[in-house]
């Protein structure tokens, strides 16, 4: 899903927006984010919502029941935590999570997720251009990438 979103963004994004298909998060994310003014991260999530739904949040305000569908390295939120602890996280960092329909192996995106790709790409572009995110930290809870 993220790969498809980045491919679409390559056609849409202006020159001062750097697009990276990272594959999976890791401590390297801190290196990538260092020096940026704003960062938008697109990833597949399991948030108990309808497939194709988009959740938007700041890293420290991730919903408590959120799971990232990753099998590699450390989870995205932990990677962002590393970046923050090393003072490399841009002040305006937003995560856009797309609810998956299934994490079973397959060759195609599900119809609902495919339909969400354009929407999440447009939202990412707006945020990268400076639009403020309404995402707020929820009361209590801890974002730990689990």
């Amino acid at each position: 899903m993220g790969v498809c979103a980045v491919q679409l963004l390559r056609e849409l994004a202006p020159g001062d927006v750097e697009l990276v298909e990272l594959g999976c998060a890791g401590p390297d994310l801190a290196l990538l984010l260092e020096g940026a003014q704003r960062a938008v991260i697109i990833d597949a999530v399991e948030a108990g919502r309808a497939p194709g739904s988009i959740v938007e949040f700041a890293p420290e305000g991730a919903p408590a029941n959120l799971r990232f569908c990753t099998t590699h390295e450390i989870g995205l939120l932990e990677a962002l935590g590393v970046a923050r602890a090393l003072d490399k996280l841009p002040r305006r960092t937003v995560v856009l999570g797309v609810q998956v329909a299934s994490t079973a192996p397959g060759r195609e995106l599900s119809p609902a997720v495919r339909a969400a790709v354009a929407q999440v790409a447009r939202r990412a572009l707006a945020l990268a251009r400076g639009e403020r995110s309404p995402a707020r930290r929820p009361q209590g809870g801890r974002a730990d990438g689990r």
Binding site: E21, L22, G23, C24, G26, P27, D28, A30, L31, T71, H72, E73, I74, E78, G81, V82, A85, L86, T103, A104, P105, R107
Partner: protein, 431 residues
Amino acid sequence: MRELEINIENITRVEGHGNIVVTVREGNIVELRLEITESPRFFEAMVVGRAWSEVQAICCRICGICSIAHSNAALRAVEGALGITPSEQTALLRRLIHYGEVLQSHLLHCYFLAAPDFCGAPSIVPMIETHREVVERGLRLKRLANDICRAVGGRHVHPITMAVNGFTKLPELEELRALRERLEEARGDVQATVEFFAQAELPQFAREDAKFLSLRAEGQYALVEGEIATSDGRRAPVESYQELVREYVVEHSTAKHAGLGSEDVPYAVGALARVNINYDLLHPKAKQAAEALGVAPPCGNPFMNTRAQVVEVVHCVEEAIALLGELERRGLAAEETAVEVRGGRGVGAVEAPRGTLFYDVEVGDDGLVSRANLIIPTNQNLHSIEADMRALVPQILTRGEDEVAHTLEMLVRAYDPCISCATHLVEVHFE
């Protein structure tokens, strides 16, 4: 303590998902297994019916940490099937990017997965508060390793320039010169890495009958080619891998296990295996590092795999500096990369960061893949991990349950398993 029940779900700081289950009653182990719960990945089935030119691009996606090793093994297998011998320039560039990935992977494991144990931290973020300089150093070195892979492969993971019989784009000589200078400047950080891991305390343990397997090549510490070699003296060409490496399905794991030869003896692959089998071919500075780290063959302590990885970091930095110098002297030239398609079978074997990786690919006369068999390093280690746990548990049974559990997790982490790579099934039918 003669009663013990350990059930660790989702071992932390390993790549992928696995559980440790150990039950001891009246001092006897009644249950012990490393459950691999990762979903199967189906890559062997996925490449069947695809073109010879697609195997590398598909299979490098098996893993985000060892995608270059998968690329190199896949390309060697496909080239073997098509009867192609790539140019010396291609061989040198593939070796260079392979060094870059070994560095990426080992630095990730040492600094971000293993180091928290040595700093008394549960994970990376708390470790930053107490050992910030250590984490910053790990990131600096990893950035350099990433940049080696990006310069040759087009990006730091899932390379896009590596192709059958060559590269779709060559790096600029200026880029290579800059990388060599950065590697030379990084020697201070590399030495600090040796010193840090030399002082980290490790459990003292070794299974008496532990065996190791890796590639071995004449005149060179084998990472991208060689014949199969074992610590008990067996040798075989890679094409005959199935005589030595027997894979099989186990009930409690979605990843297959492997045993040596017909006796199904557990064996380990990875940095410690390579250092045990190829110590004489290490760069002199890597041998100095091995001495400082207390790594000397025959070493049967699996916890020392992390230190063996540090030895290989030194080796790969020095070898990469020399190789970059050679490439600068030779220059780079555009080459003919056309391929004449014919049917055949090829076996490619490389040393991925975690151990020996086998690709066995058959291509039809139509250029489509008819069969593929992949043997992943972590699959080969799972049997050895369980054998180690079985030998270790009686030795630490009198300790508190938390300490036993933590020691077993450290044991699994020491192998640096890549569980996502290891989970695949042979027969899947896509409609």
